[in-house]
């Protein structure tokens, strides 16, 4: 018992140390860790301990090892995965309501849209236009295809904002909202109108981003969220979201 708790600490320490090297920038995304044998030598521990440390790093999405790759595992770029996982756990345990997620999403998405209007490149604008067109076309295909195009549109906006934190948090919160909603998609014809409303709002957001009008892009993003999720919310929650959407008019 004493021995096993000892070894737990060792592999965790090694994992922490490697994570620190990534945080400090000594290891960069795309770099490979040394091979297991080299790590054994460097840390002076047993092979199973190194393997355990690598498993921890891998399950935290910090590194990825590929079968047949003789080099060590590769450092992954930062991903919203762990944030997403925490949010997913919270929503599954019903301690995070749709209302809470949407209020948070309103802040993230509208700020991203505001900054995107300021910072987007011509190329990013064209990509946004094309994603918007895919939303339009897929609203006639299926709610699922539509959701995919919608998520892409928002990811592009977050990227164009130039703020990686908005990108990560946005991706995490959007996928949590989607998971909650997917269980409730009702009759197809009703969701048709819902999708059309959403397409029109996104269209307006795109126009505002084209014109570098950040305030308008932010306001319309909040507006779009409000109308899209209205039907899923209780009256009290609606009033809160409405008030947030109106914050700057």
């Amino acid at each position: 018992m004493a021995e096993s708790s000892q070894s737990v600490r060792v592999y965790q320490l090694i994992a922490d140390q490697i994570e620190q090297m990534v945080i400090a920038g000594e290891l960069k995304p795309g770099d490979h860790l040394p091979s297991e044998r080299e790590l054994v030598e460097r840390f002076g521990v047993s092979r199973p301990t190194i393997r355990e440390a690598l498993r921890v790093l891998e399950s935290n999405h910090l590194v990825k090892s590929r079968l047949g790759d003789r080099r060590g595992p590769q450092i992954l770029p930062p991903s919203p995965h762990s944030l997403q996982k925490s949010l997913a756990r919270l929503t599954a345990a019903s301690s995070l309501s749709l209302e809470a997620l949407l209020e948070f999403r309103m802040i993230i998405d509208s700020t991203a849209a505001h900054l995107a209007a300021k910072n987007r490149t011509k190329q990013q604008l064209v990509e946004l236009e094309r994603a918007n067109a895919r939303m339009k076309v897929s609203s006639d295909l299926s709610p699922k295809a539509f959701s995919a195009a919608d998520v892409e549109f928002h990811n592009l906006i977050a990227k164009a904002s130039g703020n990686p934190l908005l990108e990560l948090a946005g991706e995490a919160v959007r996928s949590s909202v989607l998971t909650l909603i997917e269980q409730r998609i009702d009759d197809a014809s009703n969701s048709q109108a819902q999708m059309q409303t959403s397409v029109l709002h996104h269209n307006d957001v795109l126009e505002a981003i084209r014109r570098h009008d950040g305030q308008r892009a932010a306001r319309l993003t909040r507006e779009s969220l409000y109308w899209y999720y209205l039907e899923y919310l209780e009256p009290d929650a609606r009033a809160n979201l409405r008030s947030l959407a109106d914050e700057i008019r």
Binding site: P77, S79, P80, H81, V126, E127, E129, R130, N132, A133, R134, K136, V137, S138, L141, S142, A145, A148, A149, V151, E152, N155, L156, K159, E171, S189, N190, Q192, A193, Q196, T197, L200, N203, D204, E207, R210, E223, W227, R249
Partner: protein, 223 residues
């Protein structure tokens, strides 16, 4: 998760490009009469000529583009008489559509119509012509879709052609919007009441009012 930004999913490229260009025409990014330069657009959109040409062909079929041999493609233009002529057809189609919805199985599904009216009202204060125009179009497109009649639905491109291509947001004014919202509400009530005759009459009168406004403003003769 990453890499999703490059996958186009279920949407064919030509459909996507057609939708991009259609939206640029509807939003007056390409003004009526503007010449569309293929080489430039291919480079800008990062696509080859083949899908672009196919998109042009479709938009020409929809009446949004005109191509002339040796001159390339231009966005359609129309004088006031053309606009009035298009609205005259709309008066009939919109009237029929409103009747069909009122008398059809969907007249209970008016929630999406009242939502479009709510959104129009939101565009009044502060007055936002672009937003109003969108929800005006949405209201009429939804009536068209709720008919469930594919021939009526086939005419629905007339809605954006008249309300957006030929009517840039710059010429919309708040007073007309207030009047139109009142008329939309009356049409909705007739539909909700299942009164086909009244719905048709009101929807038709709504467009005729627009024609009268146009004639007053531009002194058009009418076709």
């Amino acid at each position: 998760m990453t890499g999703a930004t490059t996958s186009r999913g279920a949407v064919p490229l030509v459909d996507e490009i057609t939708a991009v260009l259609r939206e640029r025409i509807y939003s007056n990014y390409y003004a009526p009469g503007a010449r569309l330069r293929q080489e430039h657009m291919c480079a800008e959109l990062g696509i080859s000529r083949t899908p672009l040409r196919e998109a042009f062909r479709r938009l020409e079929q929809e009446g949004l583009l005109r191509t002339e041999p040796g001159k390339g493609a231009r966005v359609v233009t129309g004088d006031v008489d053309t606009l009035v002529a298009a609205y005259q057809l709309r008066a009939v189609v919109d009237g029929l559509a409103a009747r069909l919805v009122a008398e059809g199985p969907h007249h209970a599904r008016t929630h999406e119509l009242s939502q479009a009216i709510d959104l129009q009202k939101r565009a009044l204060d502060p007055w936002d012509a672009r937003e109003y125009s969108n929800w005006n179009v949405a209201f009429h497109e939804r009536i068209s879709r709720l008919t469930g009649n594919e021939f009526v639905q086939g005419q629905s491109s007339l809605i954006r052609m008249t309300a957006q291509v030929f009517t840039p947001v710059a010429v919309l004014n708040r007073d007309s919007a207030v009047r139109a919202i009142g008329e939309h509400t009356a049409i909705l009530h007739a539909i909700e009441a299942g009164d086909g005759g009244r719905a048709e009459h009101l929807a038709r009168a709504h467009i005729e009012q627009t024609i009268a406004e146009l004639r007053e403003r531009y002194g058009a003769e009418g076709a």
